[in-house]
Symmetry: C2
Subunit: 203 residues, 2 copies
Amino acid sequence: MATRSKEEPSLAHLMATRRSIRKYQTRPVPKARLARILKAAYFAPSGADRSGYELVIVSDPELRRQIRARCEIADAEWHRNAAPWLKAWLKKKGITPEKPFLEDAPYLICVFGDNKAPYWLGSTWLAVAYMLLAAEREGLATLTYTPGKSKFLQKLLNVKSNLVPVTILPLGYAAERLPAKRIKPGTRVYLDRVDARRALKLG
Amino acid sequence: MATRSKEEPSLAHLMATRRSIRKYQTRPVPKARLARILKAAYFAPSGADRSGYELVIVSDPELRRQIRARCEIADAEWHRNAAPWLKAWLKKKGITPEKPFLEDAPYLICVFGDNKAPYWLGSTWLAVAYMLLAAEREGLATLTYTPGKSKFLQKLLNVKSNLVPVTILPLGYAAERLPAKRIKPGTRVYLDRVDARRALKLG
């Protein structure tokens, strides 16, 4: 078994305490931490072992400023067109088209899926999940942020046309504290076609 | 911090040792372990907190027999139509349309994405990744298995038409041992548009 310090949190703890963070400190992130998070992605299973994604990390302030500007324009439109229930949810959460985290977080991990790889979209999201948990392990905050439009990232970041922008993960130290996640009893779980939430004590 | 036994493996260890398993023991899996794995899915972030997926666990042998039969027919066709490089990869890995794991593994977690939820496909795969790691934590094996055709699962398992079959996770004790995963240096990682694999020591 790998060496493990006494302070290492359990998987269950990492999953429960990890929250999507929208407020970031501008404090720099050590490159070794970034590297460990990127390495975690490599371990995610992927269709025919092809990985199916490419990662472009942005730290340059001018590039981040441009990304923010384009995302905010796209998100203003996305907010206008959102369904009423979604508008209510966004309001409750205080989410607006303003995206300061795109400039505050020292790194943006721009995740592109390679649409020529088999099962590329699933493979890409599995790698994202591995990075989310690895970031939590490193004491860093993230968010799976999907702008209303994201095609512009291909040109701005000079990636090939088969690489589809999937999500942007800001990476940095959190500037807000959120409580551990509560289990949502809403998700339906069936066992052999019978509702199993009670039988399995899923809350 | 949550209580943690001394034997609890680190996140990095879980990620590196977890392998996609295609051979399973028929030995039963305790329901408490299954429940902990399903609970892990609840903690994954999801678009507008809507979860965006539904889980149907199949243990009934007759249902599993039917699922296997349908999947093998679909996979025979999928194998015939695979690109040459994919055929070579499948041969190297010994993967054929035969899917005994669908009957050997005591549980099949059939994962459906709710295409009415925002960002449902990404949310569903994030939940899958959480379950993969939780299964490894429980000493159990899994595989993200995507049959060549899967629409039949809706009718067979009596789920609504907005629930799209995404993947099947067989869950059980492994009947094969695979070495820890090696890092694939092939995945491209850029930092501010410059190849960063060497700078970040990503192998």
